[in-house]
Amino acid sequence: MSTRARWGKRATFLVGYTLAFAYVFPFFLVFVNSLKLKYDILANPLAIPLSITWENFQQAYTKMNFFRSLTNSIIITVFSVSLLIIFSSMLAYYLARTKTKLTKYIFLVLVASMIVPFQALMIPFMARFAQFVSWNNRGALIFFYIGFGVALSTFLYHGFISTIPTEIDEAASIDGASDMVAFWKIIFPMMRPITATVAIINALWIWNDFLLPRLVLTNETQTLPLSTYLFYGQYSIEYGQAMAGLVLAVIPIVIFYLVLQKQFISGISQGAVK
């Protein structure tokens, strides 16, 4: 290796690590301060705590109703993502395999709808669905996520199904399988890579979403992002508790990411190519 190339490598190494440090430092800061007493935080937010206290975590845990918020987040994310996978894969299969003018237009409308910002709908949306929301707000939220997520998910599946040869469908129907059986037994298992993409992209969005849950959910059904925000607004002076609350809110998704890291990265890059 030439000297120049070696220096280039060293520079990349240095810049890379400096940046990596900058990217995680805010999280580190939050964690460090969650272990301190209020006085120590205000005195020097950067210092390593001399005496560690877990009191902040205990208080944050009860105040943000951590277990309930976590359960709500999980319920809403799991149901929305599963239903999105079921519905959009079927819809994409229909649109990709039935070539008529109608399916072409439906597909175009779905693609075009992806550009509509939620803000352009939210006002009439809330007026129209107020009753539905007050009847069952978690159910309503899941229903809304299906409506908002179906376009992108169908689009991703559509691209993938187009690469599966139609001979496979024909073979299944010659063997006497109905459309439904052929789809769920043969086509759907073949789409595992894109299903992973759809699951991860939607799960990240729904898990972290704030605006829609803020409009729809109540205190009893609040998700983790909502609980952190309300918590912070109420107890903004109690920095230690706020920091502990943030740590609690971040931990579940970070664990999930570290376990499924490969799937996350390949999922997003698959989604980006379309």
């Binding site: 299969y93 550009i115 939620f118 006002i123 972290n208 952190t228 925000y229």
Partner: protein
């Protein structure tokens, strides 16, 4: 058709109907509950007479342009670092992506602590004039605070889009350029970037859309303050409709927002597509 019925019905109920409804409402005297008569363009006229709407539009435009440029520049740089032949590339990639896992609200709250407390405490201790006052108290500095957090948050995601583009380039093309004696910089600009133009189209589209729709970070970091001077368009519409009860103008502004986003995205995609090389 049995495959398509349910999802299409939900899509129409949740998206199509409110959209059509919303556009119709802007031409009526809708007050959030009922409409009695058509009023033509008066809601739009009223929206554009609102000086805070104009300042929000300017602030949003500036935010979209600056965040678009910086997010993509940083993301592309990160992608180059991660795809270089560094041993620890995967390790670094993990770190760069982490801010993306966490929702905008949590990030906003974290950075509010950094800007309001951590940096101010340090500045007073070591006498850094620039940071003694919290950046969030000043409109111009708060703008840069929003940009910093946005870049920090979204560059990891766009990095993955660029990595996908970079590794899709065939190795023999790169080897050929090396044999021909092209410098790394030359290879980057004349071979890599043109061959991965599609990744730029996608990343630019996503950041453009994300910039216009930014809400979470805005709410949690500045809350629009000081004095509603750092409200991006999403927050402005939210405040107009849900805090002040102006449903007519709120919805007209939302329709204006939709038109701007659609137009900007259309222009961006058309221009970007022109640079894509057919392989």
């Amino acid at each position: 058709m049995k495959f398509a019925g349910v999802p299409l019905a939900i899509f129409s109920i949740v998206l199509v109907v409110p959209f059509v409804n919303g556009v119709y409402y802007t031409f009526t005297d809708w007050d959030g509950f009922e409409t009695t008569k058509l009023v033509g363009f008066s809601n739009y006229a009223e929206s554009f007479q609102d000086p805070t709407f104009w300042s929000t539009l300017r602030f949003t435009a500036l935010f979209v342009v600056v965040s678009l440029v910086l997010v993509n520049a940083v993301a592309f740089g990160l992608a180059l670092i991660v795809t270089s032949k560094l041993k620890s590339a995967n390790f670094l990639r993990t770190f760069f992506f982490v801010p993306n896992l966490v929702g905008g609200v949590v990030l906003g709250v974290i950075w509010q602590f950094i800007f309001n407390s951590a940096i101010v405490a340090l500045a007073n201790k070591y006498d850094w004039e620039l940071f003694k006052q919290s950046w969030l108290q000043d409109t111009n500095k708060a703008f840069w605070a929003l940009i910093i957090v946005t870049v920090w948050q979204s560059s990891g995601y766009m990095m993955i889009v660029y990595i996908t583009g970079l590794i899709s380039i065939e190795n023999d093309v790169l080897e050929a350029s090396q044999i021909d004696g092209a410098s790394p910089l030359r290879t980057l600009f004349t071979i890599k970037i043109p061959l991965m133009a599609q990744a730029f189209t996608i990343a630019l589209f996503l950041t453009l859309r994300g910039g216009f729709m930014a809400y979470d970070v805005n709410v949690a970091l500045t809350g629009g303050g000081p004095f509603r001077t750092t409200e991006l368009i999403s927050l402005h519409i939210f405040q107009d409709a849900f805090a002040n009860g102006n449903f007519g103008t709120g919805q007209s502004k939302a329709v204006v927002m939709f038109l701007i986003v659609a137009l900007a995205a259309l222009v961006q995609v058309t221009v970007s597509k022109r640079y894509e090389v057919q392989r």
